[in-house]
């Protein structure tokens, strides 16, 4: 006679080889444990939905840490409480996979509180199965965040006291307040009706993910006869009598019918597109190192300082970029740390024909002081025979040192005359280049054209360079 047989679902391994030892056919779960029922209906759903190859189960820390012994699907074992974060990584990396985060009450509602809330709040397209059995089973029966008030556990030996330990956490209620979750329901394992409901709920939570609808959360009130020190049958009754009145069994949120499936199309960029995105399109420019030219000066250790808004940092970046175009070694380091206090800004710029050591200029051979406090702060640090350029429009004193070359330029006034005080820094660069000849002014101008983001200001900046050059020729040659 032919018979239709309902037996162990094929999403379970035939033999539980990973379990090791001699008994490879039964689970490690205690008699009457709810995990077994849930594993069974989950395995059945995976087979029926045809998703066995692409399903990845994240097992938590707790009794179900060994879920991977049984499920013939992809398995990842996570650190305590972190399953939703691990699931996030899995799903974001492989959007075609079906990711299930399977967690107990300690894992999900205590140590992993932040992970579950934020995965839910991001609306990760995953399915979370939360087994609430009001106790820590794996570690031997300690109090869980969902332990009932009055319930005795090894760490609440006189019964959970709301004064000392607070009240049990209702996760469905919390999760369902968030915008993103698509489906939140609590069920229980107490009788055929509720087990049947649990079957349906799990399938719906998986279907939502298959349809790319978003985050589904299923809480299942499940028995732990060993931890509760009750028979299997009494445990189910205890859920009905004690847990369900506090943890109502119902749909908390279901917007799955109103949700448009998300697109999971992945864009794969070509190498060229990647380089474009990163702003790294090869310039095709040949190296134009003029070795003779490089030998003409010693390393420029510059300190450029002023107040915020004077373009001090930009001047440094521009100089570095110009020198880079000349194939010099360069470094630029912004003021970092206590120096920045008081609204002053400065940067260290090194230009060299050799590999640069320290990028931090403590004894500059070039100081550009755009305001008074900058001269006060750095004048004494300048090396003997060094160069100090001051913005004489603002700096109201002379350079005191007589062992350095001091250049005064009314930078702000000149810039103001040009109609834009912000180009004072470029006038200064022009002057510096004329004084030192470290960088060819043509290269400098090309660099400005390339690097200046606001193209409408290119002309005035180029003119500023010329003004700086002119000022030095007229006043210091």
């Amino acid at each position: 006679m032919k018979a239709q047989v309902l037996a162990k679902p094929k999403a379970f391994y035939d033999k539980f080889e990973r379990k090791g030892g001699t008994n490879l056919e039964t689970t490690h779960y205690c008699p009457g444990c709810g995990h077994g029922n849930i594993h069974k209906i989950l395995a059945e759903a995976i087979v029926d939905f045809g998703i066995q190859d692409r399903t990845v189960l994240v097992s938590p820390v707790g009794c179900s840490v060994f879920a991977y012994y049984y499920f013939d699907i992809g398995n990842v074992q996570a650190a305590h409480g972190r399953a939703p974060a691990v699931a996030t990584g899995l799903k974001r990396s492989n959007k075609d996979s079906i990711v299930i985060s399977y967690q107990g009450d300690g894992d999900l509602a205590a140590i992993g509180g932040a992970e579950i809330l934020n995965a839910a709040n991001r609306g990760e397209n995953i399915t979370v199965i939360f087994i609430n059995n009001a106790i820590y089973g794996m570690t031997g029966g300690q109090m869980a965040p969902t332990t009932m008030v009055g319930q005795k556990t090894k760490t609440s030996p006189f019964g959970r006291s709301s004064e000392n330990e607070g009240h049990p956490i209702r996760m469905c209620e919390i999760i369902s307040t968030l915008e993103a979750p698509v489906y939140v329901e609590r069920t229980a394992l107490v009788d055929f009706k509720s087990i049947n409901r649990t079957k349906k709920v799990l399938r719906k939570a998986l279907q939502n993910q298959i349809d790319n609808k978003g985050f589904s959360f299923v809480e299942i009130l499940a028995p732990c006869p060993t931890g509760w020190k009750m028979s299997s049958v009494d445990s189910q009754k205890w859920i009905e009598e004690k847990m369900i009145p506090y943890f109502p069994v119902k749909v908390f949120k279901d917007i799955s019918d109103d949700i448009e499936p998300r697109s999971i199309k992945k864009k794969t960029l070509t190498d060229k597109e990647i380089l474009d995105v990163l702003g790294l399109a090869p310039s095709g420019k040949a190296d134009t190192v003029d070795k003779d030219f490089l030998g003409k000066f010693s390393e420029q250790k510059m300190k450029i300082a002023g107040f915020g808004g004077q373009g001090v940092l930009t001047a440094g970046v521009m100089l570095a970029a110009m020198a880079m175009e000349e194939n010099l070694e360069v470094s630029w380091l912004p003021s970092y740390g206590p120096e920045m206090r008081g609204g002053t800004a400065n940067c260290s710029v090194h230009l060299s024909n050799k590999r640069i050591g320290s990028p931090l200029t403590t004894n500059p051979n070039v100081l550009i002081a755009m305001n008074g406090p900058s001269l006060d702060a750095f004048e004494d640090t300048v090396e003997k025979d060094g160069l100090i350029i001051t913005n004489s429009s603002i700096v109201d004193r002379k350079v005191k040192r007589d062992d350095v070359k001091a250049i005064e330029i009314p930078l702000t006034e000149m810039a103001s005359k040009m109609g834009m005080t912000a180009v004072a820094n470029m006038i200064c660069i022009g002057a510096y280049l004329e004084l030192t000849k470290v960088i060819d002014t043509a290269t400098a101008k090309d660099t400005i054209k390339q690097h200046l983001k606001k193209k409408e200001f290119v002309d005035i900046n180029l003119k500023a360079i010329d003004e700086g050059v002119k000022y030095i020729r007229e006043n210091y040659s």
Partner: protein, 83 residues
């Protein structure tokens, strides 16, 4: 349903308790609406008093299958539809 078709030589519908996999929790016995599952009074290698079908009254409702926490301990056999 993860249903397979197999050849059997017993009356249908029926259930089988794979007795060496049974942990004797008694949930199938508790939930069987026809009260046709019972403790065997014998102990398997795991040390549990395993359940057994008493041979009569099974309707193939599958309640025991889902009430049983052990993946492979209960199998339910029904007539093939349309036969």
């Amino acid at each position: 349903m993860s249903n397979e078709i197999v050849e059997v030589d017993f009356q249908l519908p029926a259930i089988k308790v794979i007795n060496h996999l049974c942990k004797g929790c008694g949930l199938c016995i508790e939930h069987c609406p026809k009260n046709c599952i019972e403790f065997s009074g014998k102990f398997n290698q795991l040390g549990y008093d395993y359940a057994q079908y008493n041979g009569e009254g099974c309707t193939g409702c599958s309640i025991c299958f889902y009430a049983c926490p052990e993946p492979g301990a209960i199998e339910v056999y029904k007539k093939v539809k349309g036969e």
